[in-house]
Symmetry: C2
Subunit: 324 residues, 2 copies
Amino acid sequence: MSRTPPPLGPGGEFDIIRRVLKDATPPGPEIALGSGDDCALIRHGDGFLALSVDLSVEGGHFVSDWGTPELIGERAVRIAISDLAAMSAEPLATLVSLNTPRTAGSGLAERIFRGCLAATEACGAAHIGGDLSHAADAIVIDVTALGKVVEPLLRSTARPGDALWVTGRLGAAAAAVRAWKAGGKPKDRWRRRFWEPPPRIEEARWLARAGASAAIDLSDGLLADSGHIAAASGIGLEIDWEAVPAAPEIETEIALAGGEDYELLVAAPRDIFTDDTTAEFELTFGVPLTRVGRAVSGSGVRVFRAGQEIEAASPGFDHFGDEG
Amino acid sequence: MSRTPPPLGPGGEFDIIRRVLKDATPPGPEIALGSGDDCALIRHGDGFLALSVDLSVEGGHFVSDWGTPELIGERAVRIAISDLAAMSAEPLATLVSLNTPRTAGSGLAERIFRGCLAATEACGAAHIGGDLSHAADAIVIDVTALGKVVEPLLRSTARPGDALWVTGRLGAAAAAVRAWKAGGKPKDRWRRRFWEPPPRIEEARWLARAGASAAIDLSDGLLADSGHIAAASGIGLEIDWEAVPAAPEIETEIALAGGEDYELLVAAPRDIFTDDTTAEFELTFGVPLTRVGRAVSGSGVRVFRAGQEIEAASPGFDHFGDEG
């Protein structure tokens, strides 16, 4: 017995997952949702437990010199918990697996671990387990995030006619990465945005209650992550270049294609979110809620500038990608 | 508010965990058990979900040349599921985070991932998520194992007067590691025992029903893991050298101190397990159940040979250790 492979967006990185999982046995009835969304869902009481893993590897996802050991731990937990937010789940617990280089001594592991604990508790969760090693010559952190949710926001439930919305402003984290890679020093607010991405936990629950139909967190960039919603929902998405809410001093191209923002991309039936909704959202959370496009019949993601479709490359990030 | 740090056994590797977690907020009521046992436990229906993570790093936990990519994946899943067995939990699902070296191409990741899926399904579980990257120059696999259990076997519930039992025979996996490290070629059955450790899932549930009071899986070696039961239960353990069930051609010293066996160490009230019990266990599972010692008042682990206490070093393994 085989199952339908998870409907992930385009990218060679997802081919591995698709190829291997097409031979997998379908999960039993206790698993409400397996691979292919931000979290897996396990039936639990009147709702679900949401479960996700997020791997952070030195040299691929971050460079140590860009921050401190505490920030490395904090960021790893924040981006794992962002997957819970994308399902509108409430964080419950984290488990942390951490490898530090043999040569670094135990002080490095302790400082990273303290950062993990601080971020876990700041998100209202508890640290409930983990595994430490000091083998490979790179820092590797894998965070398992566990949350609970009654009515999860999925990637697969956007419908043609939905409007697309983005929380916050995009591109500052990617601008920081670009500055570091060019040997420069990013502006402080870019650097902070990279190291301390804000899991939009309360924002997501507010948007779910307000009638959102689907969501994903923006880890690979607005373009690439839009592709995941389009593939999972079996629809097309159209994004308006002029509407993309770039952070101050950030070019729209970076806001559109750069990753690491961990804001939310949300679909909602047209006319559900009014001017009142966006005003109340901004008043409540201190960040904007911006309409960036629409869901249509078809497939894939198209970008329009001054009403004309344009080529918009989606480089995504140079890791294999995020399975769920 | 702080909580009692998890009662882990001796070892510098556990000092980090103890130091950091003494400042942690106690988990909420939904978390029945946090760090310090083989799994964390989340209240779930009439029982619990058991959750554990297990990190395998190339160069620390295995060397690629010792096996195949498929075996690397299989072993990582089997040892993660062994933590479920140690709680007498039934495997439900796995999530797999995998890093492969950038230079290796996607074929390596796919082969390891196929091994992970095969072992997951062989254990009756479903693969429900993961994360792939290709940053660090080492293979890193972190497996999150999820199971369910109604009456979990803990590390902390052994009592003075309990007898100590071990499933199977010990030392073959450590003998394989020793042979590889010496540049030799291990016997086939040693090699198989390293790469395909058998999670004792059904054995643990059988022993729990038969009246076992506590359990741990033997990852760090009988001596080191006995220390964890002793610390968690607030008691001492005594082990009889002559009783240790070494695998054929394996010295008792290796059976006692070598790790990677993934057999179970189980405590049970004295006289609960009779000769009939051990005969039925061996008939059912094809492996022996051997009485190796007893729990006493006090603390720590002592080894007796010909009735005399002996010095028995517990080198454990050269990673930081397993937090839960």
